[in-house]
């Protein structure tokens, strides 16, 4: 049976090309794989091969023809002795794909949501509390989850025998053994990839980065492998993994060891991103992260590790993702922050109260999913908003919240939203400059005075 040879698309962008040269003539017998012609695309001259064996019946487009559209019939091929003189009337276009149904409303990340603050308690009223450091809370979270799920293991540099570079994994090697508390060589890209593969294989790895600065070595595995595979596999291959470790500036460690990656990771669909402030949140959110079937970026902070907070004295509790906390209620202005940024926000609120300005402080706790409802409800009440974070200013979390509020609460705003962030400079070493480079409580107070016109 005669078949038409169509002008091929030879690159992802080719729409037409030049039929530069025929390497066969009418009557030639060709085998699959034989070069039929040379075709010039916008990028290169390419050889075009036969896919089937047969005899060239008719050449319909002579060599040297320019602007031959993809899918135009350029020749007829058939079996020996077959009559192929009948020229097809016109080029046969490739069959169009059956049409999909109409587009549903797009659930964009920052779509309007109801201005509702879900402020149900994180644990039952009257729960006894105990005092714990963030460090202890994180360790307990891992230990508790490792006790109930054998598939949970911890991997990272110095997590075992050294007991953790920042002592977060203290005691875990003793309790769980070297099979589940695994010291790795200094090889972030490699061990992050191995952990992601282990998660594809059905385990629940916790990967500790000695600090998140070093996770840049592993960023490809975090983004391209962990975050995107569920989607690329049409839902088949999930990646239940936690990447955790200290993030952001510590103290006097210079530019390469002092970066807040909140905005980097919050940018990525497929990741969940957590940045807790208190010990109770650190514990409840880390337990939640370990149970979550998705890749979770859990951003801790070295300066907060030693801070003590009240933690519920419960055998088991978790805090859901996407639920911000109103850390302090107020009426005049909304302060939105997360992680160590909360230190400045809370200090500023205290100072502002002394001056008669009542600030509501929202601790986002998770950046993806982000609790837009709580922010929106608060801003509709206060009509003013200041965001606080230690990260760089360009494309920051604060920028995103400003854009969201402009789009969804424009009529409620009595002043532009101000983003208090770290400065747009690499972190300097000198003590005075480092202080200047970070966000300060003074800046937060000044921003609030600006948006409240005081």
């Amino acid at each position: 049976m005669a078949t038409e040879i169509l002008m091929p698309a030879l690159s992802p962008t080719m729409e037409e090309g030049t039929l530069a040269k025929w390497l066969v003539k009418e009557g030639d017998t060709v085998q699959a794989g034989d070069i039929l012609a040379e075709i010039e695309t916008d990028k290169a001259t390419m050889e075009f091969e036969a896919v089937d064996e047969g005899v060239i019946g008719k050449i319909l487009v002579p060599e040297g023809t320019e602007g031959v559209k993809v899918n135009t019939t350029i020749a007829i091929i058939g079996e020996a002795g077959e009559d192929m003189s009948a020229t097809p009337a016109a080029a046969s276009p490739a069959p169009a794909a059956p049409v999909a149904e109409a587009a549903p409303a797009a659930p964009v990340a920052a779509a309007p949501v109801a201005p509702v603050a879900d402020q149900g308690p994180d644990w039952p009223e009257g729960t006894p509390m105990k005092t714990q450091t963030v460090r202890e809370a994180l360790r307990d979270a891992m230990a508790e989850e490792m006790r109930v799920n054998d598939n949970v293991f911890l991997m990272g540099e110095e997590v075992g025998e050294y007991q953790g570079a920042y002592k977060i994994s203290q005691g875990l090697l003793d309790e769980f053994g070297a099979k589940r508390v695994i010291d790795t060589p200094i090889t972030e890209h490699g061990f992050a990839g191995i952990a992601v593969g282990a998660a594809f294989g059905g385990l629940n790895p916790i990967v500790e980065f000695m600090t998140f600065n070093f996770a840049m070595q592993a960023i490809d595995q975090i983004i391209n492998s962990a975050a995107k595979t569920l989607y690329m596999s049409g839902g088949q291959m999930g990646c239940p993994i936690v990447f955790r470790g200290p993030n952001g500036a510590a103290a006097r460690v210079g530019a390469q060891h002092s970066q807040d990656y909140a905005a980097w990771y919050a940018h990525i669909p497929g990741l969940k991103v957590v940045q807790p402030y208190t010990a109770a949140d650190a514990k409840g959110l880390l337990k939640q992260a370990i149970r979550d079937p998705n890749p979770v970026i859990f951003l801790e902070n070295e300066i907060l590790y030693g801070k003590t907070f009240e933690v519920p004295d419960l055998p088991d509790f978790t805090i859901p993702f996407g639920k911000a906390k109103i850390a302090r209620a107020g009426d005049d202005v909304t302060l939105v922050s997360f992680g160590i940024g909360m230190t400045y926000a809370m200090e500023a609120a205290e100072r502002l109260a002394a001056e008669g300005i009542s600030a509501e402080v929202i601790d986002l706790r998770t950046l993806r999913p982000l609790d837009y409802g709580t922010v929106l409800a608060s801003v509709q009440k206060t009509n003013r908003c200041v965001t606080i974070e230690e990260g760089f200013p360009v494309a920051s979390i604060g920028n995103h919240i400003s854009a969201y509020l402009m789009q969804n609460a424009f009529d409620y705003l009595d002043a532009p939203v101000i983003n208090c962030t770290g400065k747009d400079v690499p972190m300097p070493y000198a003590a005075n400059l480092e202080k200047l480079a970070l966000v300060t409580t003074d800046e937060v107070v000044a921003a609030v005075k600006s948006v409240t016109y005081r």
């Binding site: 490739a94 593969g197 294989g201 291959m237």
Partner: protein
């Protein structure tokens, strides 16, 4: 050299053993032919604009996956790069689902959301389909880690190219795989080119598998145009891993006949070089001759197989055209698994 380099690796090369049954030979013929015909069809559909983007064909390399799958057992895992169609067909994934993924349709393995480079099958233990050169290597070691952690005797085949063999993460992985005795077979598919860069232009190392020696990993070089030799080496590698001895490297010397992807001007090698491989070393022709000269099959028997394969491929192509594009709400699904 690696102290535990196994026999018979003194020369680093293996000879085919002809301890293969006629039925298995026919099976090899059928499986390799399926890959070749499937890829030819994919190239054709690409030319018609039904497949878009990057599309990397496996034509010429068929003996590698077919030989290694013959050495695998149920439950073993495999993972590879973007040049993945052959691996999927060889591990038993359905040609229709693979082709429909190439055309971006709902009937594809990833519902049309992955494309040529990103397909997966939990059922067949096929873990992708990865577009970042070298990234699948630690992922494969991680899959092997999960089996070792569970205490079973599964092995993971981790395929990568000669170009990928220059990525740092490969050596990070070698180090940990040997350190932790992970049951992973690293398969370097040395088709002698990374896009337009020949191995000679990218490294001074005389052989890629020997780099494993620096980490204490055993391995060998294999003739990848001889499916029997591949199976033989694969069995050795698998036995080594299953015995708990750690990883094993197979550098399989092969050749891709087509361009790197569909838009390859092929100016970095001569037509004669390609023609020579096709005519003198073709893996399918090799098995065909073994079948005919050994009296295991007649021309007619082989014609019948050709016809059978052609039908499978045509059916896959039809399916890939008829299957609808994914419904638009698929844009927003599979980003997160339900907690």
């Amino acid at each position: 050299m690696a102290a535990k380099r196994p026999t018979p690796a003194s020369s680093g090369k293996t000879k085919a053993k002809s301890n293969v049954s006629p039925d298995e030979l026919k099976k090899f013929y059928r499986e390799m032919l399926l890959i070749r015909r499937f890829e030819e069809k994919a190239g054709q559909l690409y030319g018609m604009g039904l497949i878009g983007g990057f599309c990397h064909l496996y034509i010429g390399q068929e003996a590698v996956v077919v030989g290694l799958e013959a050495a695998a057992s149920e439950g073993d895992k495999r993972i590879t790069s973007y040049r993945d169609h052959g691996h999927m067909l060889a591990c038993g994934m359905d040609a229709k689902g693979v082709m429909a993924e190439l055309t971006g349709r709902i009937g594809g393995y990833s519902k049309g959301k992955g494309g040529s480079m990103h397909m997966f099958s939990k059922e067949k233990h096929f873990y992708g389909g990865h577009g970042i050169v070298g990234a699948q290597v630690p992922l494969g070691a991680g899959l092997a880690f999960s089996d070792k952690y569970r205490g079973n005797d599964r092995v993971t085949f981790t395929y990568f190219g000669d170009g990928a063999a220059n990525q740092g993460q490969v050596y990070e992985t070698y180090n940990m795989a040997e350190l932790w005795s992970l049951p992973v077979v690293f398969v370097i598919e040395n088709n002698q080119y990374a896009m337009g860069t020949s191995v000679q232009r990218s490294t001074k190392s005389p052989s890629l598998w020997e780099r494993g020696a620096a980490y204490g990993i055993a391995g060998e070089e294999v003739d990848g145009m001889d499916v029997l030799a591949v199976k033989d080496a694969g069995q050795r590698a698998v036995a080594y891993c299953r015995a708990g001895k750690g990883p094993y490297i197979l550098e399989v010397k092969t050749y891709r006949y087509r361009g790197h992807s569909m838009s390859d001007p092929a100016k970095y090698r001569t037509r004669e070089e390609v023609q020579e491989m096709r005519e003198k070393r073709d893996a399918i022709e090799h098995v065909r001759q073994l079948l005919l000269t050994g009296g295991h099959a007649s021309e007619d028997d082989l014609k019948a197989i050709d016809k059978e394969i052609k039908d499978i491929v045509n059916e896959a192509a039809e399916f890939s055209k008829e299957s609808p594009e994914p419904p638009l709400d698929e844009l927003w699904t599979d980003i997160y698994a339900d907690a």
